[in-house]
């Protein structure tokens, strides 16, 4: 149901006035009742106390006349309806009542208490009384109780006052409601009419009539509302025009932006292509540098082994030169010379005897020479095999593509160590291996070997200043937190903390003949293999640990 604002305001004012007057009446009535009651109580207590004090002497000397006069004096006070004076046993000495009350006005029951103040209803001859009943003990100067007084104060006057108040309040209520009706009617009109005008203007504005305004001469809140609306309409109108201009500008700017965007996209593509090319070149360069390192290492190793081959050949050559075979020819010539008289020669000729002894010793020499020859021939054979292996290893990695396959990491590490064995040997490095059992993991073997050779070379070269006992390279392989960790820990010159990250930058090196590609390319390779690597060092002179980390597939079982 649609109820107009006028009626709402009208009803609200009426309700508020009625509610306020009734609430006020209830609150005031209760408050007044309590206050009057308290006042009567306070007043009654003063009266009863005064009465008690004035009765002390009379009670002591049992002066009934005097007490009667005191009692008469008490009844000059309004609202006293009964009073009595009692001795210490509660026996009445004198008493008086202005109205009949059915209750027994004794002091029984208060012997143990000093004072008693009770508000009670007492039955009279015709009606009931609301009475404030005081029972007050009286004391002599030695503070001994000597008796009691009892005073009843009629509270009827409170009821009368409250009744009068109720009548006045009801009269006020009617009066205020009439006033409220008139005021609310006027107020409702004065509020609703301007609002309706503003509402009409808003509706017109909403329909697109930006010229609609509200005419007002008021300067109150409603006048301010109308003026506010007019200002708002004016402001909205100008804002709408400004917005249209801005919109046109924005369209032009959007076109410009689109063109610039297209150009930028082309340039980005070009630059990206250039970067890719540069990166490829860089990778190739690194690869080549790595391959060169491998080749250099291989040649170096082969050279080292050939030195051993040469020394073994020299030994064999010396063995051959110094062989007993040349002496055997002289012995055989002497034997042939005496072949016919061999028996005599052997038995009589001292040379024959020496010759026999020579032959007997010859076996031992031949066996010794033969063993030495075999030994060096075997060594020669081993070195040749080593050369073959080194070359075969180099051939294994050289020219291989970036094919990802599952490999046993430890085998690859061993290959790398073997390839760099000459290097390791030359620097007198002791390699300590801590390999844990590893699953095969997918990786690009060539790139890993390249990385490992880099690390081995760096580690061995870093330890060139260390004493022979300190030159230790600890290679460990572990599985931790679902990753495979390969650590190369050397006791070399270490890395300054500020350089720990820089060592992976392209061109960064601390070696005189370094080119700064090794660790950079290694880091790139690790990234390509979904792995990562980092360097740790406690500072200069405190060694370095290079760690490679490969993430394990969740399904991979160690």
């Amino acid at each position: 149901m649609k109820v107009s604002l006028k009626i709402r305001v009208f009803a609200l004012v009426c309700f508020l006035v009625t509610f306020t007057v009734i609430a006020l009446f209830i609150v005031l009535r209760n408050d007044l009742d309590n206050r009057l009651h308290e006042d009567f109580k306070e007043r009654g207590l003063i009266i009863a106390d005064y009465f008690a004090r004035n009765s002390v002497e009379g009670i002591i000397i049992e002066d009934e006349d005097g007490l009667s006069k005191t009692l008469e004096k008490l009844f000059e006070i309004e609202d006293i309806i009964y009073a009595g004076i009692y001795d210490n046993e509660g026996t009445k000495i004198v008493s008086k009542e202005t109205v009949f009350v059915s209750d027994s006005l004794s002091i029984t029951g208060v012997e143990d208490s000093l004072n008693e103040i009770v508000s009670r209803i007492m039955a009279g001859r015709k009606n009931e009384f609301r009475v404030l009943d005081f029972k007050i003990a009286t004391f002599d100067e030695e503070h001994e109780r000597i008796g009691w007084v009892r005073v009843g104060i009629n509270l009827q006057r409170i009821t009368t006052v409250l009744d009068k108040m109720m009548i006045r309040s009801l009269t006020m209520l009617v009066f205020f409601i009439i006033i409220a009706l008139v005021i609310s009617f006027l107020m409702a009109n004065s509020i609703a009419n301007p609002i309706n005008e503003v509402a009409g203007a808003i509706r017109s504005f909403g329909k697109g009539d930006f010229n609609s305004t509200v005419q007002t001469t008021r300067d109150d809140e409603l006048g301010q509302l109308a003026m506010g609306f007019n200002q708002m309409a004016e402001s909205l109108k100008s804002r709408t025009e400004e917005l249209q201009v801005s919109k046109d500008k924005l369209i032009v700017q959007a076109d410009d932006l689109q063109e610039a965007h297209d150009k930028l996209e082309v340039r980005v593509k070009e630059r990206t292509e250039e970067l890719r090319t540069a990166q490829k070149e860089l990778v190739d360069k690194a690869h080549r540098a790595g391959m060169a390192d491998i080749a250099t290492g291989t040649l170096h190793n082969v050279g080292n082994i050939l030195n051993s081959v040469k020394s073994s050949a020299q030994v064999i050559n010396n063995l051959a030169k110094n062989s007993e075979v040349s002496s055997l020819k002289k012995a055989n010539d002497l034997l042939r010379e005496h072949i016919d008289s061999i028996e005599e020669f052997i038995t009589t000729n001292p040379k024959g005897k020496k010759l026999m002894h020579y032959y007997l010793k010859l076996e031992e020499s031949f066996i010794s020479e033969n063993n030495e020859m075999h030994k060096h021939l075997k060594r020669l054979n081993d070195k040749v095999d080593a050369i073959v292996e080194v070359i075969a290893a180099q051939q294994t990695y050289a020219g291989k593509g970036s094919l990802t396959e599952e490999y046993a990491i430890v085998d690859i590490i061993e290959d790398a160590l073997m390839m760099q064995s000459g290097h390791i040997e030359r620097y007198g490095i002791t390699v300590i291996k801590n390999y844990n059992k590893m699953p095969k993991i997918p990786l690009q073997r060539v790139k890993l070997v390249h990385i490992l050779i880099n690390l081995i070379n760096n580690a061995t070269e870093a330890m060139y200043k260390a004493s022979q006992e300190e030159r230790k390279l600890i290679v460990s392989v572990d599985i931790e937190n679902n990753g495979v960790y390969i650590r190369f820990k050397d006791s070399g010159q270490g890395i300054a903390k500020s350089n720990l990250k820089k060592v992976f930058s392209q061109g960064f090196t601390t070696r005189k003949n370094g080119h700064g590609f090794g660790l950079h390319s290694s880091a790139n390779y690790m990234t390509e293999m979904q792995g990562e690597m980092w360097a740790e060092s406690d500072g200069i002179g405190k060694g370095t640990t290079l760690t490679l980390k490969f993430l394990l597939d969740k399904n991979t079982v160690a």
């Binding site: 002390v56 002497e57 002591i60 000397i61 049992e62 002066d63 005097g66 002599d140 100067e141």
Partner: protein, 452 residues
């Protein structure tokens, strides 16, 4: 002698029986006497034919109720010859102890005010009850040490009662000598530091001159007389003035004895006149000393600070203005003490007596019906101010006492100073006061009665 002769003739057995009977009889007699209620009776006379006739009339009146009094109190005006009164009373009641003192111009009793043209006297006789009386009296020579004499008098009274001064009496009845009241009161304080009800007055003749006191059959002029009354029960007493303080006070900066010279460094008369707001404007004391009777309604006062913080005033009446600005006072004043200005009126002077009577009964917790009688002392100056006419305010005052005491016998005298005790604060001498003692019929201690 007869008894001793008879004893010689009796054998041992009979003598034992006789002794037993005597003891039993004595015991029973004592018990009967002990249990007897106190009886008091008054007698008075304004007989113009002299003291003897007056005494006879009073005795005749008294013996209607109390035939053989053990103790008699006498108030008499100075016109009657003291010797004939004493002789008459002693001749009639040789066993009774008698204390008497002068009263100003008249006496009063339950029957009213008695002002005889040639003298007035009133007697109050006591019989029964457990009261024990002791009387002491001394002549005080000029320049005598009143304090020391007081002690002698009290010691004598205690011995007369068969007691010592260590025994606390129930009440002290005092006839003080004019001019020595403060010394006497101080002497009493030295004897009884503890509170003892005191009813005392300064005896005087009809011109406020030195009076006389009678102790049994002796006359002392000037003298002190005291009666110590011992009882197991409570005896009520009261001592009040009825004046109200006006918040005017000053320090005594110069004084000699009873001559108040300066208050707050200013002449005492000047300050007193200021405080009295023109009450003394018609008195010109610049050339010669002037007696001031009207100071009876607005005297000066000493004060005691009570435990409840209130002041209790003891009026000291300025009775003469001197040209040097000093005041003659009705009591001693001391340098450094604070002196207060208090006010009253004739109605207050009249009504205060009934109030004192009532207070006495309350203090003694004596019910009206149980009152045997009372002894009263009222200020002669106040009585003079009220007027000593037959239907004057003094007479009305006596009627009030009569009503308050429910017609019980009492006698009273007018004195030139009053002495009393304020429980907890000691003994005091003042002027314009009323002092009273009320005796109950049952003088036995209530507690001991219950035990019996």
């Amino acid at each position: 002698m007869l008894l001793s002769l008879n004893f010689r003739r009796l054998d041992v057995k009979k003598s034992n029986i006789l002794l037993f009977c005597i003891i039993i009889t004595g015991f029973c007699t004592s018990a009967l006497l002990y249990a007897e209620d106190l009886r008091m009776a008054q007698g008075w006379s304004v007989n113009p034919d002299g003291g003897k006739h007056a005494a006879d009339e009073a005795i005749a009146m008294m013996i209607k109720v109390v035939k053989n009094p053990r103790f008699i109190v006498l108030y008499t005006t100075a016109e009657y010859g003291e010797q004939e009164i004493a002789k008459t009373l002693r001749a009639r009641f040789p066993e009774a102890k008698l204390v008497g003192m002068n009263s100003y111009k008249g006496v009063f009793t339950s029957d009213g005010l008695h002002i005889g043209k040639r003298g007035s006297l009133a007697i109050l006789g006591f019989s029964g009850g457990d009261l024990v009386f002791g009387i002491g009296a001394r002549q005080v020579p000029k320049g005598g040490n009143a304090m020391a004499i007081t002690k002698e008098v009290f010691a004598e009274a205690a011995i007369d009662a068969g007691k010592t001064l260590k025994d606390k009496p129930s009440v002290i009845f005092l006839g003080a000598m004019k001019g020595q009241e403060d010394a006497i009161v101080k002497g009493i304080s030295n004897i009884f530091p503890q509170d003892v009800p005191l009813v005392g007055g300064t005896h005087c003749d009809n011109s406020f001159g030195q009076g006389y006191v009678i102790g049994n059959d002796k006359i002392y002029k000037p003298g002190i007389i005291v009666a110590l009354i011992y009882s197991k029960g409570r005896i009520g007493s009261g001592f009040n003035s009825g004046f109200v303080g006006k918040k005017k006070s000053g320090k005594i900066t110069a004084c000699t004895g009873r001559l108040l010279k300066e208050i707050d460094g200013r002449p005492a008369v000047e300050v007193y006149r200021e405080w009295a707001h023109g009450h003394f404007d018609n008195i010109n004391s610049s050339k010669k000393p002037v007696m001031v009777m009207s100071s009876a309604v607005c005297p000066l006062a000493k004060a005691i600070r009570l435990s409840n913080g209130n002041l209790r005033y003891i009026p000291v009446r300025p009775w003469r203005f001197n040209p040097d600005g000093s005041l003659n006072m009705g009591g001693d004043v001391h340098k450094g003490d604070t002196i207060y200005y208090v006010e009253g009126n004739k109605i207050a002077l009249q009504r205060k007596t009934a109030v004192v009577v009532r207070k006495s009964m309350v203090n003694g917790k004596i019910k009206i019906k149980e009152v045997a009688g009372g002894l009263h002392i009222y200020c002669a100056g106040a009585a003079k101010t009220l007027g000593l006419e037959k239907d004057g305010a003094t007479a009305k005052m006596i009627t009030d006492i009569h009503k308050t005491m429910d017609g019980k016998p009492f006698i009273g005298g007018f004195t030139a100073g009053e002495q009393g005790a304020i429980p907890g604060y000691g003994f005091f001498h003042g002027n314009l006061m009323s002092s009273m003692v009320v005796f109950p019929i049952k003088t036995e201690d209530a507690e001991s009665t219950k035990k019996k």
